[in-house]
């Protein structure tokens, strides 16, 4: 009996250990290839060079253009998603009848469940032509269209998590505000949002991290032209799109071009890691407040 229990516990522990091995594997793989990449390209160049042309004959390995592309699409996405998501969260939490919320919340979550390749199609085939009819100067590949679509995709992240945070505000606070004659709007903005701020911020950061790591939408609709720009109407390339580009091509294993995806991957990994942990930290502090 006792031994059987021990064996079961051991097997279960091994299952849990796989998660650690995954992380170790990711870090090891990224570092191993990146280190060999940085023996050929200096870290300084990598961080400061304004051009990224590893696949050209005149090779430049500056990550900045890829970062700016990533930043651009991410910012557009957040600009779309934040007001929308927050409004939905407040509306569902304070205004909407319970039955309505019960139906709408899972429906909204479907937005996050749709495969990203489908969003990419949407951005390229529907949104870009539509935007071009408004801004004639818009290029066929650009940061704006995938950014907007990405924004729609991450709306449920912000709305769901923020709604949870708002719902977690003790009802005594809410009632105190109503008791003083405040409207729902005033209660929401003056009491609930400040009280739930950490939860909301953490949801936004999580959404940001999601947008940075998003691949297919930008790979399809943003173009493959790394350029250091803040103009959302021209083709750009993000880190993720670059990795896809290299993976699709016939780059020989072990070549410098091949190693670039690891250096780019490492950059992406570091960014998302930082954002995720900031989000956890903020959220944890917030939870402590009400326990």
């Amino acid at each position: 009996m006792k031994r059987g229990e021990k064996i079961i516990e051991g097997v279960l522990f091994l299952c849990a250990l796989i998660t650690i091995l995954t992380t170790v594997g990711i870090i090891w793989v990224l570092l191993k290839e990146s280190i060999s990449f940085f023996t050929e390209v200096s870290v300084f160049d990598f961080l400061t060079d304004k051009e990224w042309t590893p696949l050209f004959s005149d090779k430049h390995f500056g990550i900045l253009p890829l970062l700016s592309g990533t930043l651009l699409t991410t910012v557009v996405a957040i600009v779309v998603a934040l007001p929308l998501g927050l409004t939905i969260a407040i509306y569902l939490n304070e205004y909407a009848p319970k039955s309505f919320r019960k139906v709408v919340k899972p429906l909204l979550e479907i937005l996050a469940a749709i495969p990203t390749v489908v969003y990419g199609f949407f951005a390229l085939i529907v949104v870009t032509p539509f935007l071009q009819s408004i801004f004639p100067g818009l290029s066929g590949f650009n940061a704006l269209s995938p950014g907007i679509v990405m924004g729609i995709m991450i709306v449920p992240f912000i709305s769901s998590l923020s709604e949870d945070a708002l719902a977690a505000v003790p009802s005594s606070l809410r009632e105190a505000s109503y008791g003083l004659g405040a409207t729902k709007l005033q209660t929401s903005f003056k009491v609930l949002i400040p009280a739930a701020s950490s939860g909301i911020i953490s949801s936004v950061i999580l959404a940001l991290s999601r947008a940075i790591g998003e691949t297919m939408i930008v790979a399809i609709a943003a173009g493959q032209q790394p350029r250091l720009t803040l103009d959302p109407t021209v083709p750009i390339e993000t880190i993720t799109a670059f990795i896809v580009q290299v993976s699709l091509g016939d780059v020989p294993h072990g070549s410098l071009e091949y190693k670039t995806i690891f250096a780019a991957g490492l950059t992406l990994f570091v960014f998302t890691l930082i954002l995720n942990n900031v989000s956890f930290y903020v959220n944890r502090r917030y939870k402590l407040k009400y326990d």
């Binding site: 990711i26 449920p156 890691l273």
Partner: protein, 285 residues
């Protein structure tokens, strides 16, 4: 008094704005779906489902893609479900509050936030190169298993947590061992929650493209995979491939393939939502 009525007015305005915002996303989703259906529905026939890929849009089909997706679904389930549930049980029921457990905890939250493409890079090095699986179904499903493992673990833990402590105490007090308690009480009680989490994560795996691109899954596979070591393609890969082609015929094909993919995904989400709804009604602790 005037102030109060202004406030009321603002309040009403925000209500309308809130409804608008809520439906904006859904509206766009609706428009898009209708567009896809209009574009792709006519293409969706038996020939499309049963044909191999082709250079001609009118002859091309998604046989290899949807069979590949089914393979991936099956193989990923087999690897990720037992490991995910096992890990969740260990973390929730066996781990002591020490540094190792803390590390695992933080680690899993972090894994859930790592972009899928990074998993692709991991799969490329470990499964494709080191284990020499090549761009096979096995490499693909292993990679996707690692990708969805954190989601399964987190949702399983949530489901286990929702089982009242009193039930566990009662079982232990009856002289049941830890494992008997988990097996006979906690897992059955948490089953619908666990199942919901698994379905949702598998739905995600079905829709993933980026990691498979990185591990070298091919867009053009002219045969149906027979063994896990075969090369493969999946629906999202096929869609991606078609989207990036200039001819309009391929766009129509992409729309039709999207319809098939969405049917897959929506059915799985529907099942998950149904289960969540059912379990929320069933047991009142």
């Amino acid at each position: 008094m005037i102030k109060a009525s202004t406030n009321q007015w603002k309040d009403q305005l925000f209500r309308i704005y809130g409804i608008g915002a809520t439906f904006f996303g859904l509206l766009i989703l609706g428009i898009f779906l209708v567009g896809i259906v209009i574009e792709g529905f006519s293409r969706l026939d038996f020939q499309f489902l049963s044909s191999l890929p082709s250079r001609l849009p009118g002859k091309a089909g998604i046989l290899t893609a949807w069979t590949g997706s089914l393979w991936i679904f099956g193989l990923t389930s087999i690897t990720s479900i037992p490991i995910g549930i096992g890990a969740a049980i260990w973390l929730e029921e066996y781990s002591k509050k020490n540094r190792l457990a803390n590390l695992l905890e933080i680690n899993i939250s972090n894994l859930a936030g790592i972009p899928s493409i990074i998993y692709g890079i991991l799969g490329l090095e470990i499964f494709v190169r080191m284990m020499k699986f090549g761009g096979s179904l096995l490499a693909g499903s292993f990679t996707l298993s690692l990708l969805i493992l954190p989601i399964i673990i987190v949702s399983t833990r949530e489901a286990l947590k929702a089982v009242p402590r009193s039930i566990i105490q009662a079982s232990l007090a009856m002289g049941a061992t830890r494992w008997q308690t988990i097996w006979l009480q906690q897992l059955p009680a948490a089953s619908s929650g666990i199942f919901t989490g698994i379905i949702l994560s598998l739905a995600r795996a079905i829709g993933e493209t980026a990691p498979l691109i990185v591990i070298g899954a091919l867009a053009y596979v002219p045969f149906v995979a027979k063994t896990p070591m075969d090369e493969f393609t999946v629906l999202p890969m096929q869609i991606f491939n078609w989207v990036s082609r200039p001819q309009h015929g391929f766009i129509v094909n992409a729309a039709a393939a999207i319809l098939v993919l969405l049917i897959f995904v929506f059915i799985m989400n529907g099942i998950a939502i149904y289960f969540r709804y059912k379990s929320s009604k069933k047991v009142k602790w």
